[in-house]
C-alpha cells in the first residue's frame, strides 16, 4: 500500500481502478493477513481440521470484515479517538451476533455445527487490525474492498491448510473418502498429527517459507 504516490488527481476514480483492484489482490499474496501480517493465527489453527468449517468460517469472515470495514469507514470522522477501539469492537460484535442469530433462525443445522466458530470471529485479530489500520483512514468503498480482500486472503490460507489436514489426517475431502481403500490395505495409515492444531502451525510455517523463498523482497531483515 506504500508507493501509490502522486496519482491523487481530483477526477473521479473508477470503481475498479488499478489501485482499488490491488486492495483486493494484495492480501491474497504479498500482504496476506496470515502469512505476512501474521494475524488470525489462532482461528487458523482451530478450525482447519476439516474443509467444510474452514469454508464457512472464511465466508463469515469475508462478510463481517467487509461490512464492519464499510461501517467504520462511514463513521470514521465522528468516532472519538479515545474510544475508537471500543467502537470498532462493538461494530464487529454486533455484526457477528446478527450473523449468528440469522443462521440459527434459518439454517439451524449449519449454525449448530458452527456455533463455536462464529463467536470466534469477534476475537479474530484480522478484522480489528483492518479496521484500525485501514478503515479509520480511508473512504468507504476502498475500505469495503480491503475487507473483502483480507477476508479472502485469510480464507485462502484457511482452506489450503484444511485441505492438507483433512486429506492426510482423515483421508477425506469435504467428508468424502478420497484415499482409496486399497491404499489402506497396503498398510497406509492416516497421519494422527494432522488432526491436531500443531499440524496447522507446521503447515503455515511451510507456506511462509515457500512464499518468502519465492519472493525475497518479502523477507523482513530487521
Amino acid at each position: 500500500m506504500s508507493q501509490v504516490a502522486e496519482a491523487a488527481v481530483q477526477t473521479k476514480e473508477p470503481l475498479f481502478s488499478p489501485k482499488n483492484r490491488r486492495l483486493l489482490t494484495d492480501p491474497l499474496d504479498d500482504n496476506n493477513p496470515i502469512t505476512i501480517q501474521v494475524l488470525g493465527i489462532c482461528s487458523a489453527l482451530a478450525v482447519t481440521a476439516q474443509v467444510k468449517p474452514s469454508l464457512v468460517m472464511a465466508l463469515c469472515v469475508v462478510f463481517v470484515c467487509s461490512v464492519s470495514n464499510l461501517l467504520i469507514s462511514l463513521l470514521r470522522k465522528g468516532i472519538p479517538s479515545r474510544i475508537r477501539m471500543i467502537v470498532q469492537l462493538v461494530v464487529i460484535a454486533t455484526m457477528v451476533t446478527l450473523v449468528d442469530q440469522v443462521l440459527k433462525a434459518f439454517v439451524y443445522d449449519l449454525s449448530k455445527e458452527l456455533s463455536v466458530y462464529i463467536g470466534l470471529i469477534i476475537t479474530n485479530c484480522i478484522i480489528m487490525g483492518r479496521l484500525e489500520a485501514f478503515a479509520m483512514g480511508n473512504k468507504p468503498w476502498p475500505a469495503f474492498l480491503d475487507g473483502i480482500g483480507n477476508g479472502l486472503g485469510y480464507g485462502a490460507i484457511l482452506i489450503l491448510v484444511a485441505v492438507f489436514r483433512e486429506v492426510f489426517g482423515a483421508g477425506t475431502f469435504l467428508g468424502y473418502q478420497v484415499i482409496p481403500q486399497f491404499i489402506y490395505d497396503l498398510g497406509y495409515v492416516n497421519n494422527g498429527v494432522m488432526v491436531t492444531p500443531a499440524a496447522a502451525m507446521f503447515l503455515i510455517g511451510i507456506f511462509i517459507w515457500i512464499q518468502r523463498a519465492r519472493k525475497p523482497q518479502l523477507v523482513d531483515i530487521s
Binding site: 478450525v47 481440521a49 476439516q50 468449517p53 470522522k77 465522528g78 468516532i79 472519538p80 479517538s81 479515545r82 474510544i83 471500543i86 467502537v87 462493538v90 454486533t94 451476533t97 446478527l98 442469530q101 440469522v102 440459527k104 433462525a105 434459518f106 439451524y108 443445522d109 449448530k112 456455533s115 463455536v116 489436514r165 483433512e166 489426517g169 482423515a170 492416516n190 494422527g192 488432526v195 491436531t196
Partner: protein
C-alpha cells in the same frame, strides 16, 4: 468543524447513543427471530428422536411422522409413568439430572416409537459431558430392553475430525444390534480405543472408538450407562 470530537461530553454522548442503538437493534432481531429459532430447535429435536429409529431425509415430513409414530411418556424416579405436569418434549434432561444429583424428585422423558408391524421401540434421551462441552443423544431399544435398535449422538463443541465424529453415520451405525445388558442382567457396554479393533462382530457389548477422541467416547459410555440406569425400573414395569 465546530464539534470537538475529542471532548469528554462528545465521547460520553457517542458511547451512550451507540450503546442504545446497538442494544435496540440486537434486541429487535433477537425478538423477531425467536419464534423461528424455537421452531427450528423443536424440529431438530424431533428429527433426532426419529433418527434413532429410522432416518427421514425430507424435513417436511418430520412433524407428521412424529405425530403419527411417537408416544411421549414421562417417568418418575421409581420408574412409574407420570401424567399431567410438564410434557415429555419440554422436559430438559440436563435440569432433571441436576435434580437427581441433588437427591430430589425428578422426571425423565421416554419416547415410544410404533413400528408398522405394531412393535414398539423405546427411545431413551441421553445427556452427558464430552471433552469440551455437553453431548447428548437418543438411543432406541427393542422391546427386550437390551438390544439397541439405533442411536444418534450430537454435541455442542467437540473437535471436528475427532470428538465430533460421534455424529457420523459410521460411528452411530455400529450401535445397531449391540446389547447393553449382559447375561447376568446388568449394564455392560464399552466403546474401545481407536478404530479397526478386530473381532468386534462377536462382541455384543463393544464398538469401535475414535482415534484421538477417547475422552468424548468415554463421555458417550458414561451417558449411556447413566441413561440406562435411570430407566431400568421403568423398563421392568413395562415388561
Amino acid at each position: 468543524m465546530a464539534l470537538d470530537t475529542n471532548s469528554n461530553a462528545y465521547t460520553f454522548g457517542y458511547a451512550i447513543i451507540m450503546t442504545l442503538i446497538v442494544a435496540a437493534a440486537l434486541a429487535l432481531t433477537a425478538m423477531s427471530l425467536k419464534p423461528l429459532q424455537d421452531k427450528s430447535i423443536a424440529l431438530d429435536k424431533k428429527t433426532q428422536i426419529l433418527n434413532a429409529v429410522s432416518p427421514i431425509s425430507d424435513k417436511g415430513l418430520i412433524d407428521g411422522e412424529y405425530a403419527k409414530r411417537i408416544e411421549e411418556v414421562v417417568v418418575d424416579k421409581s420408574g412409574k409413568v407420570v401424567t399431567g405436569g410438564t410434557s415429555a418434549f419440554d422436559l430438559e434432561i440436563k435440569k432433571e439430572y441436576r435434580k437427581k444429583k441433588a437427591g430430589s424428585d425428578y422426571n425423565l422423558p421416554v419416547y415410544i416409537y410404533k413400528m408398522d408391524d405394531g412393535k414398539k421401540k423405546f427411545i431413551m434421551p441421553l445427556h452427558g459431558a464430552g471433552l469440551w462441552d455437553e453431548i447428548w443423544g437418543y438411543v432406541a431399544l427393542n422391546d427386550d430392553f437390551k438390544t439397541i435398535h439405533g442411536a444418534t449422538f450430537d454435541h455442542k463443541g467437540e473437535t471436528p475430525g475427532l470428538g465430533a465424529e460421534i455424529k457420523t453415520d459410521w460411528f452411530q451405525g455400529q450401535f445397531k444390534g449391540k446389547s447393553i445388558v449382559n447375561k447376568s442382567g446388568s449394564f455392560e457396554f464399552k466403546i474401545l480405543k481407536g478404530k479397526g479393533n478386530p473381532g468386534l462382530d462377536k462382541e455384543p457389548h463393544k464398538v469401535d472408538g475414535i482415534s484421538g477422541a477417547t475422552i468424548t467416547a468415554d463421555g458417550v459410555d458414561d451417558m449411556l450407562k447413566k441413561g440406562y440406569l435411570s430407566y431400568v425400573d421403568y423398563f421392568k414395569g413395562v415388561r
